[in-house]
Symmetry: D2
Subunit: 291 residues, 4 copies
């Protein structure tokens, strides 16, 4: 008899992304030690997976350096050995840099971005772009296919990150190749970046109408979309990612004391939705991890 | 300068409907005294409006008897004088019976059902109708128009209850009569009755795409749809109705100790959505009440 | 090897409904003879099914009289023997009257309305109801279940007429009874009645998102919605019903010379959509008729 | 009194894009002379605007060369002086190249692409990318803003080309700058590119729910989406672009004899939708052109 996990809610946490800095929120980790401490707090609060972008120890900038990534992984494994580590595949100038962490560390799960898109910072009140106005986040079909093949070989589950409908259709297209992705698929719907789509019932409904039956799905949202998307996902069987990568605040508007405070929020949301927080073992089954 | 109430969330509570009985949940009020006690507890927990269907003191059945309705109103006014009373217009065999409470008590707000529909009880696992298989909830255009005119005259705000898209289109049709409804309109979207639509992102998005700009809106849901609809509404600026009329349980699945326990739930949801619970005075403004 | 019929488009025609009169369009048939002549013209223009509501020979009013229905059937069979006859199950005061034509004539296909709803005539410019303001089109769960059982017994395919989302959900509910409907289901989406939903991309998309995979579907629309719905259905694999029951005009605005002129229109639409008009034999397969 | 143009349908035609070649369809124009001849045939068939990507006379490749663009414009103006010329802003390696035709020729209307995206050729049966697997169509915020400013200065109406929801949100964001775009906006929804979204009722409904009230809109679609999108747009008040840039065939599947044959198709669709084909003068008003 199969265990019924339909009422379990997975909380994932992204401690820091490519852009968030200590200037914005001092709880953002830069050093491997800080990653480990923050991961442990998040695990204690209910997170079963932790998504990492390593930072250069000196500059605080995102780095594709494998040694620095390894130091982060080791530190998390030491302090929170049960938590499932999810490594980004978005950092790096070259495709080789982007694929290397999967090949080297063979994580249980790794993000896989699904479309190329503008990726800028703007002021939503004035409509002015304030940073990276000429920036494109490149995720060509070659990128996606190469990462997917490497993940399959490494038995790494792709977390298919969907920022827009085109990205989801890109995956539906590639998924016609019978052997590129292990089924069922796992999606993460990302809301609120400038260049992608903001959270709306309609976009979430549209994504869910399109994904293959049996897929698992989670949401994350930038700034206030973190709360909007999380509440709505919890209500209807989805899973939640939180963390300072996406949002530096708590719902009241003040700075979060750490990503763990948003994990605590997600755990409360789960309870109000009548759901229980999934353990790492349950998460392995819910997301159909391959290891 | 206009007060910004956009971050306030109105909690409405329906203590008992036409169908819920003490056999299902002993906290369901039948006597005026019980209504008053329950209304006070709900007010203390954050509800600013209370929706009432009077019950016959002896049989417990819904009654259009004006004396019994008056006794309920008086008792609530005595124990929770600040709470806004919302009287149903759905009880009665004749149209006269349905319109009489509005004419007699001139409440600040009253429900106004927007479509005729099947109204049965069924087992959602087997697809069998178990009660009222030949039942129709009649809300003809004549009914709607007559109630709307009476409410306008009584300065009662219609709470336009939408169970299906046809009902919403009925109102959009009638609203072409320039003077039938005071603007802006106030809608309550009802999910999960057998005969209407269950909660889904898509239906809620569809309703919101159709209502006139500037309308206020709230959701209620039957059984688990109470939680689904409430979480999603809180996330995106809507308001919440809870209460034993719609659902006799709390999210964990046990019986609610009273409607007030669901009001407490809604207040927690509001907080997790970064919103504050509206007071009755704020509710008057948010719902554009006429008195 | 299965024949690929995916590019075929079925044209159904409804010669006259409950409401359309000769005063509105003199081509509306009342007598059996007129039904036969009109059916033949429609068949020649491409219709493979004809939907009939018999009319009293003297008054012109819709009639549940079995003799008069038989005369219509006989006349059509004589003049257009290949066309598939679809009998309404909506005419009659009692449930017995509504079920009798199915039991008596065992047609290949019969309409089955899926929800109770307001059914009035209104002026869409002023929002005034001009006729039948207190009217409800009753299709309770008892009605639907009784008709479905009779159709199953008669090997009559139910044409599940969906006027609103609640109606579609009613069928999804009843379809959990494993043996009530033969699979796959066949739906007809009806747009533009006052009381139901007007044609919109969103409503059609919503219906299609909900119906079971493998279902066949057709559209019909009242007045201009006949053209809107037909064009959109033809574009995306659906089938088309036309006829004076739904609309008395052609796209240019003048009165149709007969239902057959709208059938000609539908045949042109099919061609512009790159599809071929289905023959009655192909329609039997596409709609999964049981005889 | 304002002229009512709501029943007019604008047919635009794109004679050739960046990718279509004479090998695919010999009617594709390369030389200025061929552009002129084809434009005239399209005008005679009902097109009021012609969208052009100039081709290098020798190689047949798309070219940003201003002299060659001028030769195309001159030739069209000579042979079909009434037709409105719409110049692409997507051809060129540098932003200067992309903006130069607007600055130089000050066309009445010019395409303006709204998002960066993958732009590849694939086999929709196998899910294999067959060309340009590492290609990105760059339309950064800097690109969009620069083109918009140049168009405003040149009194050129931007035809805002929407391939995905993110692109539409990009425009809604930039449109908060009060003076970047003249209102009302004009959109062209593009369906069926690999990297964007295919035609669906839902995507078209979603786009229409998001655009500012009062905007004009047209659709175009790649391959069979040309017919799907066109039929659906005609049904609901939208306008149609056809042409060999998007699709080399007619609905029956054979090669089009020229873009004009698709214009003829669109004119027939307009008629079946009860609409009339707009003249260039009417198009100026419908699209709110600035000259």
């Amino acid at each position: 008899m199969t265990e019924d996990l339909s009422n379990k809610l997975v909380i994932s946490v992204a401690l820091v992304g490519s852009a968030t800095t200590k200037e914005q929120n001092p709880a953002v980790p830069y050093t491997p030690e800080e990653f480990g401490v923050e991961a442990k707090k998040c695990f204690d609060a209910g997170a079963s997976t932790v998504h990492i972008h390593a930072r250069d120890k000196k500059t605080g900038w995102p780095t594709p350096d494998l040694d620095q990534i390894k130091a982060v992984i080791d530190n998390i494994n030491e302090k929170a050995p049960e938590i499932i580590i999810n490594i980004t595949s978005s950092v790096g100038i070259t495709l080789e840099q982007r694929v290397a962490p999967t090949q080297t560390f063979k994580p249980l799960i790794a993000s896989l971005n699904t479309n190329s898109m503008n990726f800028s910072i703007g002021d939503f009140k004035t409509g002015k772009v304030v940073a990276n106005a000429d920036g494109v986040f490149r995720n060509t079909f070659l990128t996606i296919q190469t990462l997917a093949e490497a993940m399959k070989k490494a038995k790494t589950k792709p977390e298919l990150e969907v920022y827009d409908f085109g990205g989801l259709y890109n995956i539906l297209f590639l998924n016609k190749q019978e052997d590129l992705f292990e089924k069922p698929l796992h999606f993460q719907f990302v809301f609120g970046t400038l260049g992608g789509v903001p959270f709306s019932y309609q976009s979430l409904a549209g994504f869910l109408n399109l994904i293959p039956s049996g897929s698992s799905w989670s949401v994350c949202g930038v700034a206030k979309d973190q709360f909007r998307a999380g509440l709505c996902a919890a209500a209807m069987g989805g899973h939640i990612r939180v963390g300072l990568e996406d949002n530096i605040r708590v719902p009241s508007g003040r700075l979060a004391k750490g990503s763990w405070e948003q994990v605590e929020w997600a755990a409360k949301v789960a309870k109000l939705a009548g759901r229980e927080v999934a353990t790492p073992d349950e998460t392995r089954k819910i997301f159909n991890l391959l290891q």
